[in-house]
């Protein structure tokens, strides 16, 4: 899936497809065939895409720059019942052994761990996977400070499912 995103980004930069077409394609590739959900990005949803999913208490986050801009000073926050464990990270396709991490218990929510995964700077995309037993928190968010302030958050209510026309 990251290979597809990289290819699409390169094609977009060369001007072969419009930004809208690229956003539709990326939304399609991220939501199929897995159960990844699109998160909400503020304020400019056309420049950054963000998806997340939870599989067996494993959280997977993908943040993709849809423009020529590099995302900088990015960190991801989550609040979990149990201490999360780093599993995998790739920045611009390159594996990263670990990320600088800040972690506290009870500092924000009295019964949850606050964890900040500090990704820093990247050009095109970030992929992060971590595990936290009995994961049930819909508190995931991330923010970046440059080249423009941008943050993302997940929906705390799922979308309607199996929408279909009837005859």
């Amino acid at each position: 899936m990251d290979i597809i995103l990289n290819m699409l980004a390169k094609i977009y930069r060369r001007g072969y497809i419009s930004r809208l077409s690229l956003s539709l394609m990326i939304a399609g590739s991220l939501s199929s065939p897995s159960s990844a959900e699109d998160g909400r990005v503020h304020p400019d949803t056309a420049r950054v895409s963000f998806s997340w999913q939870v599989i067996s208490d494993t959280v997977i986050i993908t943040i993709q720059s849809l423009s020529e801009d590099s995302l900088m000073n990015l960190f991801i926050s989550d609040f979990t019942d149990s201490e999360p464990v780093f599993v995998e990270c790739r920045i611009d396709g390159e594996p990263v052994d670990s990320l600088p991490t800040e972690r506290e218990f009870g500092s924000v929510y009295p019964d949850k761990y606050t964890t900040r995964w500090i990704a820093g700077d990247f050009y095109q995309n970030l992929y992060l996977k971590y595990y936290s037993s009995s994961y049930n928190g819909y508190y995931l968010s991330w923010s970046a400070g440059h080249p423009y302030p941008v943050f993302g958050m997940i929906s705390v209510i799922g979308p309607p499912g199996t929408t279909a026309w009837q005859e």
Partner: protein, 122 residues
Amino acid sequence: MRKLLLLFLIIVLPSAAMAQFNDHDGQLEVTWSPPDFGNPLDHYIWTYEINEVADSVTGQSPGEDTLENSVTLTTIGDWAIFYIRAVSIVNDTSIVVLTDTAYYNPETGIGPPVGVNWIQGP
């Protein structure tokens, strides 16, 4: 080569805009299921885009509803896309989901003759 690659990607990547539904009587009915996760559901907000006009018909449905059938297409060839999102009891809003495009496209044809026994004659 690059143009071929672009064409290949457009074909293979999924897109809701490429699928369609033929509705035979113009009375549009769409169903959905509740969200799979998150804060308790309160209601749904939905809208129809008809013949490229966004928000042609809009409305809300209670959380227990899973059917919408208030729109009728009157001209053959008219089409519509239905958008819906869920809203929680604390006003969190989900992402929007949309349907395939529904076209008013009644089937036409000639059926076999009925009521006459051609073997035995009158």
